[in-house]
């Protein structure tokens, strides 16, 4: 048996095969590396208990659409079961260089759009104020740019990852 899982766009491969002697003992190969085998002592609706080298681990598991969410000892793990698509939301915190699309980092409500289409903005300038859970969050330009398109208006409710504003870098603008 082999499962492919995806975390932040990275593919992870888990092979697991029943050991001959015991029907609950699995031989594991993780990204090509053989691992300690695991006893799967109990598989329930929503929880699984393993024994790895005598150490019990209790996992809470939920499958949400294409994702599996797992909690073990207070920490959460998340896997996608299918490869990432090209147009998916970029991972937060991993952006590099100029970002032409300003996306909502969380579900919330647009408190104020602080720019207009065609306006030139500076690095760090606030574009949109977003409110979620009673806190204001300023979304800012990273680099000098011109506002190409604004997709939202004051008071709009927006989803995680929704494009709010599109920018054009000043340098690359065709005159």
């Amino acid at each position: 048996m082999k499962t492919l899982l995806y975390v932040a766009g990275e593919e992870l491969a888990l092979e697991y095969n029943q050991h001959g002697e015991s029907d609950d003992l699995y031989e594991l190969v993780w990204n090509g590396q053989p691992q300690q085998p695991a006893h799967v002592v109990a598989v329930r609706d929503g929880t699984i208990t393993f024994l790895v080298d005598g150490h019990p681990l209790h996992a809470h598991v939920v499958r949400a659409g294409d994702r599996s969410l797992i909690s073990i000892e207070g920490r959460t793990y998340e896997f996608n079961h299918t490869p990432p698509k090209h147009d998916q939301v970029r991972q937060r915190g991993t952006r590099g260089g100029f970002e032409p699309e300003i996306r909502s980092p969380m579900p919330g409500k647009i408190l104020a759009v602080k720019v207009v289409e065609g306006e030139a903005v500076e690095d760090g300038q606030t574009l949109v104020l977003l409110e979620a859970m009673k806190m204001e969050n300023a979304l800012t330009a990273e680099g000098n740019a011109r506002v190409a398109t604004i997709h939202v208006a004051d008071g709009d409710l927006v989803e995680l990852g929704q494009v709010l504003v599109e920018l054009e870098p000043i340098e690359s603008r065709q005159p």
């Binding site: 609706d45 393993f50 809470h60 793990y77």
Partner: protein
């Protein structure tokens, strides 16, 4: 005594207040907004009334709607919880005008201490030290810019009506001032229906220490010791404890004495908290009075054995305190962690959504006050705090280890929460040493990332083998994809659809 109380709040505090009412034989009415139809607080009470749409201004802050619910259900009294209308003197007066009892300080005392600017002035006159501040800000930003020069940067903007970190902004340089001011005003307006802000000097690395007080309407007033609340992010507490590791017995005498002085001068009744900033030389400054039940009241309940909500209700009903200062014993050490739906790895950004699974910790010395259950919503409209875990120990170390264990027992799926962050916080040597101060997180956890993922392989195996509820993104049960790689047959089990 009252026969029925309306709780003008939501989430964990409504459930907590309803429990005490039930223990006292008092019926309860919960209110809920249209966004909170799945919230457990709705069914913690004996009756529930929808008070309006999702926006707090139209529901939980809607005085007319709350009072209409109170009339409709025939209550005697209203408990405001914390936040929302809890420190709103106008609301307290409207409750009284409707012939009902507001469970909190008398409106005049509420006004006196509730407006932080007024409170500062009063307290300074009593000889209790206050932090240098600028109270009368001009409306014109340019004038404000000049006004604050005398104070110097860094500055702290605070809401006059505020609390809970709402409407607060730290300003480290002049360029940030104007935008921070207007953001703080808007936040304060949204949170407290009162946008006035003021500016005070910002101390670096101090302790935030507060004293719980309790006074009856006959003027008897006692303190229940202090709480250390220095560990904060976004000016909001996330860990509290009592007693404070930073307060010696003699300092405790001074601070609790100052707190009682402030409360007496304000003619304060009911439960309240006098907040102080404590610097590293053992000097303390009055900060504000929180004229309500505090989020972190469970730790005081742990060490005193008192039920603060019960005391609030008894006091509001006109009963005298059942004890004097020397009858209050404080025993052991208690800690609280606030569980937030937020992403500690990305600026503690709120992370609302649908709770797909929730398992609370249990066991000796562990208390859970939860606002969520499995399959409930954490709406975008309200505070992202979803639960409080508090632990008691004979000493701080026992309480800390209990908390570390309780957090590891906690499972929450579907939302990003601060539980992994809290686990690392509890395990941190500086926290274990009691070296808490308001700069703790920026000092020890700058740009924290969930580095430790010790059970990645087991998690991957669980993802491969699970028999878990399959859910759509909105939490509804769905059919599993017919993924031929799941090993049901090998597990001796069954196969869905076969």
């Amino acid at each position: 005594m009252f026969s029925k109380i309306l709780i003008a709040n939501r989430g964990e505090i409504t459930t907590r207040i309803a429990r005490t009412c039930r223990e006292m034989g008092i019926a309860t009415v919960a209110v809920y907004s249209e966004a909170d139809r799945s919230s457990p607080h709705l069914y913690a009470a004996d009756e529930a009334v929808c008070v309006g749409p999702a926006q707090a201004s139209e529901s939980y802050l809607n005085v007319e709607s709350i009072l209409a619910a109170a009339r409709q259900t025939g209550v005697d009294a209203i408990h405001p919880g914390y936040g929302f209308l809890s420190e709103n003197a106008t609301f307290a007066r409207a409750v009284a005008d409707a012939g009902l009892t507001f469970i909190g300080p008398a409106p005049d005392a509420l006004s006196a201490v509730g407006n932080k600017i007024v409170a500062r002035r009063t307290v300074a006159q009593l000889g209790v030290p206050v932090i240098p501040a600028l109270e009368d800000l001009a409306t014109d930003p340019e004038t404000v810019r000049e006004q604050v020069v005398a104070l110097g940067y860094p500055l702290l903007i605070k809401a006059a009506a505020g609390g809970g970190g709402k409407g607060m902004r730290i300003v480290r340089e002049e360029a940030e001032l104007v935008e921070a001011l207007s953001a703080a005003q808007r936040e304060a307006e949204a949170a407290f229906a009162e946008g006035t802000v003021y500016v005070e000097r910002f101390l670096e690395r101090p302790h935030h220490v507060e004293v719980q007080i309790l006074g009856d309407t006959a003027g008897n007033i006692v303190h229940l010791g202090e709480r250390e609340c220095s560990i904060q992010r976004r000016y909001q507490k996330i860990v509290e404890e009592t007693p404070s590791p930073a307060v010696s017995e003699s300092l405790r005498q001074e601070m609790t004495g100052a707190a009682l002085t402030v409360a007496r001068a304000a003619g304060y009744d009911n439960a309240g908290t006098v907040e102080f900033i404590l610097d590293n030389d053992g000097k303390f400054y009055f900060l504000e009075v929180n004229a309500r039940l505090q989020v972190e009241h469970p730790i005081t309940e742990w060490i005193t054995g008192l039920d603060l909500v019960r005391e609030q209700i008894r006091i509001a009903a006109g009963e005298a305190l059942g004890f004097q200062q020397d009858g209050i014993r404080r025993n052991g050490h208690a800690l609280e962690c606030r569980l937030y739906a937020e992403d500690a790895a990305h600026g503690f950004l709120p992370s609302p959504g649908h709770v797909l699974a929730w398992q609370a910790p249990q066991g000796p010395g562990v208390r859970v006050d939860s606002g969520v259950e499995s399959q409930t919503e954490v709406p975008i409209y309200y505070d992202p705090m979803i639960a409080k875990i508090s632990t008691w120990g004979a000493d701080r170390e026992q309480a800390r280890r209990r908390m570390a264990g309780a957090l590891r027992q906690t499972a929450i799926l579907g939302l990003t929460t601060n539980v992994p962050f809290l686990i690392e916080l509890m395990d941190h040597p500086a926290f274990a040493a009691g070296d808490t101060h308001t700069g703790f997180l920026s000092e020890h956890f700058p740009n924290w990332q969930p580095g430790e993922q010790p059970h990645m392989l087991a998690a991957a195996l669980a993802a491969s083998l699970h028999r878990g509820p399959y859910r759509n993104g909105d939490g509804q049960t769905a059919l599993p994809s017919q993924d031929s790689s799941t090993p049901w047959q090998q597990l001796g089990g069954w196969r869905l659809g076969s």
